[in-house]
Amino acid sequence: MIEVRWHGRGGQGAVTSVELLAVAAIAAGKYAQGFPSFGPERRGAPVAAFTRIDDKKINVRSGIYEPDVVLILDSSLIGLVNVTDGLKPNGKVIVNTNRSPEEIRRELDFKGTVATVDGTGIARKEMGVPIANTTMIGALLKVTGVMELDAMKDSVEHRFGRIAQKNLNAMKRAYDEIKISN
């Protein structure tokens, strides 16, 4: 089982991303959970959302305390929130930033995998909005290899209709452009 914790701010679409990812994983024949950090919805406040994906039925229903992967939608949260809290030592950090993985590694003092991509820049170019939640799914799939990028197609089309292709293009670019430092 792979457990992912997403960090974002209310309104940046972390919950939408975990939903898209879980729906796609289930459609691909896997078992998955996607859920928000339970509580009131507050635009701008630091929030977390969670994904579990496995090949067999998932029984656990408690929170995720020791994630395999942490994905940060908004790099301004680094320092504000303890983003590596409980992260497995050999785990992976994925950050939406135009900075290099090495720079983020130094800042987080983390020895596992660190990957960065300018998700906001890609989203701005591909979709005309600075919302990188769907873009960063591409980054996650590249770093974890948990699913093929193509597996996202149906769930994104179902959710976004006419603008689905732009989201898929952005996802693909993040998949291709992400820089990974092991």
Binding site: E19, A22, I26, A27, A32, G34, F35, P36, I58, S62
Partner: protein
């Protein structure tokens, strides 16, 4: 054929209800039930479900509206949570006394105060004696299945009672997870049209909910109690029928590795699967642990419970609510009264846990087992403790 898919459970519940040929729904939105209200109203507004969606101004009105609608012979549905359920409270015994087969989803959430929107069972427990059939579900699949099954139980000619389906708020309602959604054809085959025991109709007028004084009131209460007790058989039959048709078999009480278990834990609701993982870990260490999951809360399945716990040495009852100043958790006191007359019975322990959404990881369940097993002098038996509360 049903379809395997992933969706947020609350929305999936609305989809399932939409398959049930409902005539009307009156739902007032409240966290964490809101997505049921929103999605069901979408389905009606989009013409996908041919029903009347009544946008009421409160939960009191919602329950009043479904009582009235059900009285006219309409298949009627509502859903609520926490304070909304408390606000409905005075109408719940009326719905059951009038024998109206309404079904209601409850996205279980802590009752104020202090204000809290997260999951526990303190909203349903004060409704325990309202005369409703009360079912708890463990995962999204059960939430969907029971939402459909509930109509068939409620409307059975030998039952004619309202049913509530308890779905842990957030823990289940806000979870995107896989399940199989039955098809419209399958639901049509499973669920016959609603035949009411009487209807409000101008052509053949009747009086429902008439006044009754001491000359008739006790007889009416006895009739209601007998109806609720007798409904247990129908619940079993309908579960079996569902199992035959869909391959998902439900029992009033589920067991996990209880056959040779010395220490058994009992849970109700979404914590069952997490507790199951604790059982596996304890078994791996050589501890004979087992799990009992209570699905039917009312009518209480006394015989079924006794049969699965009587051979254990110790029983850990977990409760997500407390009867303040009373004997502990409501489930605990029920189990104790079930076992009182038994010569062979386990020592019974009670943990009040997960209040107001406090997360309960696998390790907490293991901790409860370890604490009970370590109690060799049986000092903690027959008492209750709050689990994980800072001292």
């Amino acid at each position: 054929m049903g379809k395997r898919m992933g969706m947020e459970v609350a929305m999936a519940v609305a989809e399932a209800v939409g398959l049930c040929n409902i005539d009307m729904a009156a739902v007032y939105p409240i966290t964490p039930q809101s997505h049921i209200a929103e999605h069901l109203s979408d389905l009606v507004a989009n013409g996908e479900v041919d029903a009347e969606f009544v946008t009421v101004e409160s939960e009191h009105s919602a329950m009043s509206a479904v009582i009235g609608a059900s009285g006219t012979g309409a298949r009627s549905y509502t859903a609520t949570s926490s304070q909304g359920l408390m606000y409905m409270h005075e109408l719940l015994p009326i719905a059951s006394a009038m024998r109206l087969p309404i079904t209601m989803a409850i996205a279980n959430r802590a009752v104020s105060g202090p204000l809290n929107i997260l999951n526990d069972h303190s909203d349903i427990m004060p409704q325990r004696d309202s005369g409703w059939i009360s079912i708890f579900v463990e995962n999204g699949q059960e939430a969907i299945d029971m939402s459909i099954i509930a109509f068939k139980i409620a409307e059975h000619q030998d039952v004619m009672l309202p049913v509530n389906i308890n779905i842990d708020g957030f823990q289940l309602t806000h979870m995107v997870e896989p399940f199989e959604m039955p098809s419209q054809e399958e639901v049509n085959k499973f669920l016959p049209p609603f035949v009411p025991h009487a209807t409000l109709h101008p052509a053949k007028p009747v009086t429902m909910g008439a006044f009754a004084m001491s000359d008739y009131f006790p007889e009416i209460m006895k009739a209601k109690d007998e109806a609720l007790k007798n409904s247990k058989k129908v619940v079993v039959d309908v579960f079996n029928e569902w199992g035959k048709m869909f391959g998902r078999n439900y029992k009033l009480v589920e067991t996990y590795k209880t056959d040779d278990a010395e220490v058994i834990m009992l849970t109700m609701g979404s914590m069952g699967e997490t507790a199951q993982m604790a059982i596996d870990q304890l078994r791996a260490k050589g501890i004979k642990a087992g799990l009992v999951k209570l699905r039917l809360w009312r009518p209480f399945p006394f015989e079924e419970i006794k049969a699965v716990i009587k051979n254990a040495k110790k029983l850990i009852v977990t409760d997500r609510a407390i009867s303040f100043g009373g004997p502990g958790g409501p489930v605990f006191s029920e189990i104790k009264s079930a076992m009182y007359a038994e010569t062979q019975r386990p020592l019974i322990y009670n943990y009040i846990y997960g209040l107001g959404g406090r997360d309960v990881p696998v390790g907490d369940f293991i901790g409860m087992f370890e604490r009970v097993i370590a109690d060799t002098a049986n000092q903690l038996a027959d008492t209750y403790e709050f689990w994980g509360v800072r001292e």
